[in-house]
């Protein structure tokens, strides 16, 4: 039985040989995951589709540089992340906001995170989480999304963002603390449980 990685490698070769249908199959394989990732950065359906589409178009243009050392998904995920960061930069949010900003550091871990209320629907909770996430600086949102929603290992995050594991740990730690603070600021009712 062929593994997904071998299948991807074949599809890449066929695409490079001019097989449009093979590229369409590659897109079909990963479109769901990329839409799931990118929707953490924009809630606008048109922007979401455009970012994912640009990701695949960039991947197609650079396909001959894909060296198969990583999985196709890791490779295209990196393209998606860069596309998203470019998009956010153009939209006015700086993804390189200083990590050492004292306001950003805060007293991480000092506050308790309220547990989600049992009487709320999963969809409502999801929307609350997404709105809190949207408030975070991009450097923090990026690592949180990679870790919490795409279940990436610290090393994968480090490779994708081209930062050290120590920086990943530090950003994640601060990102979680910021998430808790924002959650309680935006929805203080959760703090009164």
């Amino acid at each position: 039985m062929k593994t997904a990685r071998v299948e991807d490698a074949n599809l890449v070769q066929q695409t490079l040989a001019g097989d449009q249908r093979a590229f369409q199959t590659l897109v079909e394989r990963y479109q769901g995951r990329l839409f799931a990732v990118v929707r953490h950065y924009t809630r606008n359906a048109v922007e979401l589709e455009d970012i994912v589409q640009e990701t695949f178009l960039k991947a197609y243009r650079r396909l001959d540089s894909f060296d198969h050392r990583s999985s196709f998904y890791t490779w295209i995920y990196r393209i998606a992340t860069n596309t998203v960061l470019d998009f956010l930069k153009r939209r006015g949010r700086s993804p390189v906001q200083a990590v050492e900003d004292p306001e950003l550091v805060g007293e991480a871990g000092a506050r308790d995170c309220p547990a989600p209320m049992a009487n709320l629907e999963a969809r409502e909770l999801a929307e609350i989480t997404q709105s809190v996430l949207a408030e975070l600086p991009d450097i923090f949102r990026t690592v949180l999304v990679m870790r919490e929603f795409d279940q990436m290992a610290y090393q994968e995050i480090a490779d994708t963002l081209e930062i050290s594991i120590g920086t990943v740990e530090s950003r994640l730690f601060r990102a979680r603390a910021r998430f808790k603070d924002k959650l309680l600021k935006l929805y203080p009712e959760f703090g009164a449980q």
Partner: protein, 177 residues
């Protein structure tokens, strides 16, 4: 291990990213420290929030893969898609258009130009002479104030002459004789 060393390791512990030695030291500390156990349970609660968020399924538009493959093979670079204008604006709803900085800049410039135009128009309208009582005068246009005064004096003198009694006129006595 103390609390200061323990707290930053808790997320990595829950993410299964610690070495066995680190995890063992952390577990030992957690057994002894109520505050850090509380921090651990807070981190677990946080993870539940992310779990809910992840339960939302992303919807892929119908025919997306086919469209993308067709565009790729047609040589479409896709660069204009998220480059701050172009298609995003063309296909966006009002909310998206408002969020687009390029469009916002353009709209601001249009509004500023309109404001300047209005100012110029209002200044011009002020300078234009509006009809007033003077324009309804029966006097000949183009006469100076001095000419008008002289004309008025002449008329007054003529009226005074006409109103004076005949006897007082020069030569009136001789005429009576």
């Amino acid at each position: 291990m103390n609390c200061k060393e323990c707290l930053p390791l808790i997320p990595g512990y829950l993410d299964d990213e610690l070495s066995e030695a680190q995890a063992a030291a952390l577990r030992q500390h957690l057994l002894d420290c109520r505050a850090c156990r509380r921090a651990l349970s807070s981190e677990k609660a946080l993870k539940r929030w992310f779990g809910f968020e992840d339960s939302l399924e992303a919807e892929v538009p119908a025919g997306f893969a086919e469209r993308v493959a067709r565009r790729a093979f047609a040589g479409d670079t896709g660069e204009e898609l998220v480059a701050g204008g172009g298609r995003l604006v063309a296909f966006a709803d009002a909310g998206t258009a408002a969020a687009d900085p390029g469009l916002q800049q353009f709209l601001l410039r249009v509004v500023a130009a309109a404001a300047v135009l209005l100012l110029v128009l209002s200044a011009w309208m002020r300078s234009v002479r509006l009809p007033d009582g003077g324009s309804m005068s029966a006097t000949e246009q183009g006469a100076t104030v001095e000419e008008l005064l002289e004309e008025a004096d002449a008329l007054n003198a003529a009226e005074a002459d006409a109103a004076r009694p005949a006897l007082q006129r020069p030569g009136a006595e001789d005429a009576q004789r």
